[in-house]
């Protein structure tokens, strides 16, 4: 498989704090890769670097063979990367359908076409019955789903998911996992996901990257990561205790 996303020796500091330090990993086309690590490890910062919200101090990020450095977030979205926000950011005064339509308008010029595309995404994420509600009135699990729906509506090649299972009940997690697996199988959507819910990570990912204090401490298939002593010491052990 060819690599759709290549993160190559990327670093970023905030006033002396090295949030991401010489991190490198790849995401193969059609794959599902997990990005895990304790709180403050630099996972969300990685997403912001890929999505163009932040600029790396050094290193390169390539998507489908093309460097993303210097592109604006909207240009990166247009290039085919969709992202969700860990702290959800719906358009609260707009309806659920309008929220998703804004995403779909990236690929559709006509509003009617975008609405049709939005409705298809909404039914896929089981939000169709809430399409006319104001996004601001949704519960947290629904807002998380809306984040995914809006990003999906941009029809991305790569989807960046930042803790979309956090705060969901086990049955809801299973439903989300099923949706993502289905999307990946049927449309070939490539996914990079940040997740603390290890059950979901292990069920979904073919490959896992572990960050700690901004540094990459391990990478490999789920089984290897689960039994990796460094990972257990710095993250999984503490998760198991907590």
């Amino acid at each position: 498989m060819t690599d759709l996303l290549v993160v190559d020796g990327v670093s970023r500091s905030f006033r002396g704090l090295r949030a991401v330090s010489e991190v490198g990993f790849t995401v193969p086309e059609g794959g599902i890769v997990g990005l895990i690590g304790p709180n403050g490890a630099g996972k969300t910062t990685c997403f912001n670097l890929i999505a163009g919200v932040l600029r790396p101090d050094q290193g390169d990020i390539r998507f489908a063979g093309r460097s993303l450095i210097g592109l604006r977030p909207d240009q990166i979205a247009a290039a085919g990367i969709g992202r969700t926000f860990q702290i959800v950011r719906p358009f609260p005064e707009l309806t659920v359908r309008q929220n998703v339509t804004v995403g779909a308008l990236l690929r559709h010029r006509r509003v009617a076409d975008a609405e049709a595309a939005a409705d298809a995404v909404l039914s896929r994420l089981e939000l169709a019955t809430k399409a006319d509600r104001h996004a601001g009135s949704l519960t947290l699990p629904d807002r998380k789903r809306l984040e995914v729906a809006r990003a999906l509506a941009t029809n991305p090649r790569l989807l960046l998911l930042d803790e979309v299972m956090a705060g969901l009940r086990p049955t809801e997690i299973d439903a989300m996992v099923a949706i993502l697996v289905d999307l990946n199988r049927t449309t070939g959507l490539t996914i990079l996901l940040i997740e603390h819910v290890m059950r979901a990570v292990m069920a979904l990912c073919q490959h896992i990257v572990v960050l700690h204090h901004g540094e990459l401490i391990a990478a490999g298939p789920p089984a290897a990561i689960q039994s990796n002593p460094t990972v257990i010491g710095s993250y999984l052990g503490e998760e198991a205790l907590g």
Binding site: A77, P90, P92, T101, G103, V111, R150
Partner: protein
């Protein structure tokens, strides 16, 4: 939706019939009301739709007024060319302010301060442009008020009434249509959360700039009307901070971001202001500040009890009434 349509239809009919029913005084109040509805709609595109606060919109009124009036005074060419000129001047000014503000990430209140600063700067500038009369004012030759010359916008109150009526209906229809376009969706997304909008591919800088330019150009047409209706322009009046504020009261009280809010707000506010003035004058008191106080109190009451504005509150009530 049905409430909006019924309301719209009733307003349209009443508006068309008004000059035949109203006295000259009432007609003049209606003209001012519709003028505030028109410029309120223009401002609403920038703030209500795209979420960019301007507190200096009097600048575009003034630029439009001076552009068209200057052309008319010096060459005799009427608004058929003056209006496009006014729009061009205002769009360039708006693009300049928008570019500065958005390029350097001046947001929210700071962007609003920038718009005030530019309006004030322009006022002082026009005080010193002697060819346009400076602080002494610019005066348009007044034709007979009985004839109707639409090309040169010379005529009586009934003509001016229908001109501003058509302008207001047109800008309301435009607002309605804009909200349903791709651009309208993208404006609203930026208003709600610019970073989230950018993440789904909305080119935020360009899209915000378009809102400012369109709003500025449309406001300038309000300025052209102002110039030819009043025939006198003073920088101290037309660029005044108080005008910038008065222009935004109707959309705020009526309901920002809605299509009919600015209209409803203006039709409530201006007649109320006039009524206050009449009552005050009847009491033999001369105090120009009373109207401002009344507007201020009304603004506080509306923001306190109906923070969304009068029009959204009305539609919600109607919807509730029908469900019961």
């Amino acid at each position: 939706m049905i409430a909006a349509r019924a309301m719209g239809g009733a307003l349209l009919l009443a508006g068309l019939a008004a000059p035949w029913l109203a006295s000259e005084y009432v007609l003049s109040v209606l003209i001012v009301s519709l003028w505030f509805a028109y410029v309120g709609q223009a401002w609403n595109i920038m703030m209500g739709f795209a979420g960019q606060l301007s507190l200096g919109h009097a600048m575009y009124v003034g630029l439009g007024a001076y552009a068209a009036a200057g052309l008319f005074v010096f060459t005799g060419i009427g608004p058929w060319l003056g209006a496009p000129l006014a729009v061009i001047v205002a769009v360039i000014a708006g693009a300049g302010i928008g570019w500065l503000g958005f390029r350097f990430q001046v947001k929210g209140v700071y962007f609003a301060l920038l718009t005030i600063a530019f309006a004030e700067f322009t006022r002082i500038l026009f005080d010193h442009i002697t060819v346009l009369g400076g602080s002494g004012g610019l005066f348009l030759p007044v034709g007979q008020r009985s004839g109707v010359d639409l090309i040169n916008l010379r005529g009586g109150p009934v003509m001016f009434y229908y001109v501003i009526f058509v302008m207001t209906v047109a800008i309301t229809a435009l607002s309605w249509a804009l909200l349903r376009t791709r651009l309208g969706y993208q404006w609203q997304a930026i208003r709600e959360d610019a970073e989230a909008a950018e993440a789904v591919g909305v080119p935020v800088f360009r899209t915000k700039l378009l809102a400012v330019m369109l709003s500025a150009g449309l406001t300038a047409l309000g300025g052209v009307f102002f110039a030819f209706y009043y025939n006198t322009l003073f920088p101290e009046q037309i660029f005044a901070k108080s005008r910038s504020i008065e222009m935004i009261l109707a959309p705020i009280i009526g309901g920002m971001g809605t299509v009919l809010g600015p209209l409803v707000g203006a039709l409530l506010l201006t007649p109320l202001g006039e009524l206050t003035m009449a009552v005050i004058a009847g009491l033999g008191v001369t105090n120009a500040g009373v109207r401002q106080v009344v507007f201020g109190v009304l603004l506080i009451l509306v923001l306190w009890f109906l923070p969304q504005g009068v029009w959204p509150w009305l539609t919600q009530r109607w919807a509730k009434g029908r469900r019961q």
